[in-house]
């Protein structure tokens, strides 16, 4: 074959590979290197010995219990509510469907904070109320337990299943169920023998997402577990890195645990791709028809009340708690008007350097990380989707990596990479968080920009070229305008979660680089419950405003299109 000239496409490919190698691949390699290589030689026995330490073993077991429990519970609740809003005549279905997605907006560590205030064994408000009311000796609930952590994570993770299943139920060809009906089957039989089996891939996909998220999640177990000596892998890594003063053995244990996280995430993603690619369950219809609806009759209103109460308990109650506690003059005072003040908010927003810095840090870090990651993601997706050059497989492989790297692992990886070992020391600066965010959110950018690019058919670009446009002009005038909505989506998909990020930044923050999430977490750790709640309340307001902004931007996009 004739050797090809080194052109623009090759340059873009090389650049993309370089970015992914530096941002994602090397940090992960460093983790495995530190975990399994001692003095230049592979040493798996010592690595295994580290895992056998009782506290690591305990953390592994807890991770399994919490991820498993959360997954099972979220799946049951998610499937039930999805079925309720898409296959029954529940009143106000449309509104309920939107409400079931609200828990997604709430950062789960803020939820955990609220639940700790309400249900911690001795100090929890609800527990105290119940004990006073019924003259009990012991608290009724203990949220600071394995069960409590599972319950709180489920409250904020079940929408993963809900979205998958309700979407699949709506897209499913209704004649599949009608065919069963005309064959003589009643609704119960149809649900059991036709609908549920057909929904299995979606249920499984949602459940695996929950498992993936729960396994890598730091906030809830940190707030509800650490105080009670309940550790899971991410909180154990945090404890090892911080409490042990960064000695070598501690870092090795951290990298070992991180390796386990990466491998289990990869395994989960692999199973998920198997499930989704099995074509046996193609049930999407072209024709949209109203599906069969189960008449709930007498159960109609009780089930609506159940749904509303569920939302009230999981969303409204914690939110109200956060806002109320945020106004207290001192934590522990009763919720009476004379004990409340708005000074906490002005103090946090304008006077206290720590929180002021945190808000500012979160803002510019998530803005810049979102913009940069979105642009890099567009570049990489363009090379992946639109070019045909040799060596692309390497980029394809690297492009999958960001999807399987949990936030804790990324944090540890960038610590290993950017702490001076390679001549650059970013430790304790905002830069290290910035690099980590790029790695952490690259998957989001790749997903939405490559989806947008795949929809732009090659012939559109070719038509522009045939009309006399250069490659660059075709790109600028045809491709870019068409993928702009995908790029905007990518930006917001990164900006909003980054704004409330905790898992990664909690391992990376320095004296002046706290993020909002870190500030809330450390304030809570230091017993400053009121200020933690007040800052959390401000964070909630920012998040809601951000969501409304996205809605406006995306709606304007749809209308102008």
């Amino acid at each position: 074959m004739r050797p090809r000239r080194f052109g623009t496409a090759e340059l873009l490919l090389l650049l993309s590979i370089l970015i992914l190698v530096v941002v994602v691949a090397i940090p992960i390699l460093l983790i495995f290197w530190n975990a399994f290589v001692v003095e230049g030689k592979p040493d798996f026995l010592r690595a295994l010995a580290l895992l056998k330490e009782p506290d690591t073993l305990e953390a592994l077991k807890n991770s399994l219990v919490i991820a498993g429990g959360t997954t099972v519970l979220s799946t049951i609740i998610g499937v039930f509510f999805a079925w309720l809003v898409s296959r029954t005549d529940l009143p106000y279905k449309g509104t309920m469907k939107v409400l079931f997605l609200v828990p997604f907006m709430l950062p789960s560590f803020i939820g955990a904070l609220a639940w700790k205030i309400l249900l911690s064994p001795r100090g929890g408000h609800i527990n105290r109320l119940l004990m006073d009311l019924f003259h009990l000796e012991d608290p009724v609930f203990n949220i600071m337990s394995l069960g409590g952590i599972i319950a709180v994570e489920t409250m904020y993770l079940f929408p993963f299943v809900f979205i998958q299943v309700s979407g699949a139920l709506e897209r499913m060809d209704p004649t599949l169920e009608e065919a069963a009906r005309i064959s003589g089957a009643g609704l119960f039989t149809i649900t059991r023998r036709i609908t549920l089996p057909l929904m299995m891939p979606s249920i499984l996909a949602g459940a695996l997402l929950v498992a993936l998220y729960s396994l890598a999640h730091f906030g809830v177990p940190a707030i509800l577990g650490t105080e009670r000596n309940i550790f899971i892998i991410p909180t154990k890594i945090y404890e090892k890195i911080y409490a042990s003063g960064g000695n070598f053995e501690a870092i090795r244990t951290g990298t070992m645990l991180s390796s386990i996280l990466v491998l289990s995430a990869a395994a989960i993603l692999y199973v998920q791709s198997l499930v989704l690619s099995s074509g046996r369950f193609q049930v999407i219809s072209g024709k949209s028809m109203r599906p069969m609806v189960l008449k709930l009759r007498g159960l109609k209103w009780p089930l609506l009340i159940l749904s509303v109460v569920y939302i009230a308990i999981t969303v409204v109650l914690p939110t109200v708690t956060i806002f109320l506690v945020g106004t207290l003059k001192t934590y522990g005072l009763a919720f009476k008007l004379e004990n409340m003040t708005l000074d906490n908010f002005t103090y946090i927003l304008f006077k206290w350097e720590l929180t002021r810095d945190a808000i500012w840090n979160s803002f510019y870090l998530s803005l810049s990380a979102a913009a940069v990651t979105m642009l890099i993601g567009t570049l990489i997706s363009y090379v992946l989707v639109k070019t045909k050059i040799r060596g692309k497989f390497l980029l394809e492989f690297l492009g999958v990596l960001p999807f399987s790297v949990p936030g804790t692992v990324i944090a540890l990886g960038v610590i290993l990479m950017w702490s001076g070992r390679f001549g650059v020391n970013l430790y304790n600066t905002a830069w290290i968080i910035f690099v980590a965010y790029i790695a952490r959110y690259m998957a989001f950018a790749l997903k939405s920009t490559s989806a947008a690019l795949e929809q732009v058919h090659d012939s559109l670009e070719e038509a522009a070229r045939a009309c006399g446009a250069t490659k660059w002009q075709a790109m600028k005038d045809v491709v870019l305008p068409l993928i702009k909505p995908g790029m905007v989506a990518a930006f917001f998909l990164i900006f909003l979660p980054a704004l409330r990020e905790l898992t990664t930044s909690v391992l990376l923050y320095g004296p002046h680089t706290r993020t909002i999430g870190v500030a809330i977490y450390t304030l809570n750790e230091d017993g400053e419950t009121v200020y933690a709640a007040a800052l959390a309340a401000i964070a909630l307001v920012i998040i809601v405003l951000g969501q409304l902004l996205i809605k406006r931007v995306t709606r304007a996009k749809i209308e102008s299109a």
């Binding site: 004649t175 065919a179 069963a180 003589g184 089957a185 299995m200 369950f281």
Partner: protein
């Protein structure tokens, strides 16, 4: 007896009347087609028959039994109607293999294992699926999927079979083949077929009788020949086969083409049943002769060879007609002046 009777059936969706005051009797053992453009109410009618849609007015009976009655709010649920039904998108369950798909209605009925085995195998044999019975639908072609749907529908040996555009997702050659198979199955098993389609050729090929619907209103019921030869309205004429329409006006007891008096009078009697001085002449492309002299005078715009047939576009004043002649007939050049005479034509009131 599986005579299906619809009396005064009306169905509304919001403000739109999908089916208006439909009276119909489908006879035992016949193949009856519901034909019309999309949105005409044919599928809604079938779904009311199946029991998936309630009625706003009217009654549906099968034999002596009432299946749906709007006045009494009585609706026999679909699963109790013992119909067979085949859907446009096949609706074959992807998680069950072919055998289990076909056995499903029998299992629901609670038949014995031996019975299920025997009846499923017979349905599979009738549709030529015995060899692939352990395969999953995802591994099969569209035609085979439609066979599964057919086998599943005949498994319980229903008296009435509802077919909702069952052939429209298949390629043309397969479509023709399946038509024969459906007719063949009907001959052997003797069920009544109600067949929904928007394809007039398909309806004519398969039906004993058919109806044409438009905007929820019944236009005509009859045998395919009767509907082709004597369309009750201009709409039915245009929906069944290729058509030409010429607006005419009567002067001095002769009929002239509107806007083209120079073409001369129509050398044929005005059809019966047309009142008023203006009317519309309707004729098929194959029912018009071309000649050098006489007839309605027109100009050949274009001539296209279609193999066996030569198609002419002829202009008369502001109107254009499509005429098909045999390839061995006299040939006229483009631009030539020709005379048209109508071997067969019908007249309709002007719209």
């Amino acid at each position: 007896m599986a005579t299906v009777t619809l009396s005064h059936v009306t169905k509304r969706f919001g403000g739109v009347t999908a089916v208006r005051d439909l009276d119909l009797e489908i006879r035992d053992g016949e193949c009856f087609s519901l034909l019309g453009p999309s949105g005409c109410g044919k599928t809604t009618t079938l779904r009311m028959l199946a029991g998936f849609e309630d009625l706003d007015e009217g009654e549906i009976r099968v034999g002596d039994r009432v299946f749906s009655n709007s006045a009494r709010h009585y609706y026999l649920p679909p699963e109790k109607r013992d119909f067979g039904m085949v859907f446009q998108a096949f609706a074959v369950w992807p998680h069950l293999n072919i055998f289990d798909n076909v056995a499903f209605p029998l299992q629901i009925k609670g038949l014995s294992q031996a019975d299920i085995q025997e009846k499923t195998r017979r349905a599979l044999a009738d549709t030529g699926l015995l060899k692939v019975q352990h395969a999953f639908p995802g591994e099969l072609s569209g035609g085979e999927k439609q066979r599964i749907a057919l086998a599943r529908a005949i498994a319980i040996n229903p008296q009435v079979m509802l077919l909702d555009e069952p052939l429209s997702n298949l390629d043309p050659k397969l479509r023709e083949e399946m038509r024969f198979e459906i007719k063949d199955l009907q001959r052997r098993l003797g069920f009544t077929i109600v067949f929904v389609t928007h394809d007039q050729a398909e309806a004519m090929a398969i039906s004993d009788r058919m109806l044409v619907m438009r905007d929820g209103v019944l236009q005509q019921v009859g045998s395919p020949i009767a509907i082709y030869e004597q369309p009750a309205s201009r709409f039915v004429f245009s929906f069944i086969g290729l058509s030409n329409f010429l607006p005419m006006e009567d002067r001095d007891s002769c009929s002239y083409v509107q806007g083209a008096p120079e073409a001369g009078p129509l050398e044929a009697p005005r059809p019966n049943g047309v009142a008023g001085p203006t009317w519309t002449l309707a004729s098929r492309p194959t029912h018009i002769d071309l000649q050098a002299e006489g007839g309605l005078r027109g100009t050949v715009l274009r001539r296209v060879y279609l193999g066996e047939v030569v198609e002419y576009r002829v202009r008369i004043g502001p109107h254009e007609l499509r005429i098909q002649k045999g390839a061995r007939d006299q040939v006229f050049e483009e631009g030539a002046t020709v005379g048209l005479s109508f071997r067969q034509y019908l007249g309709y009131p002007e719209e």
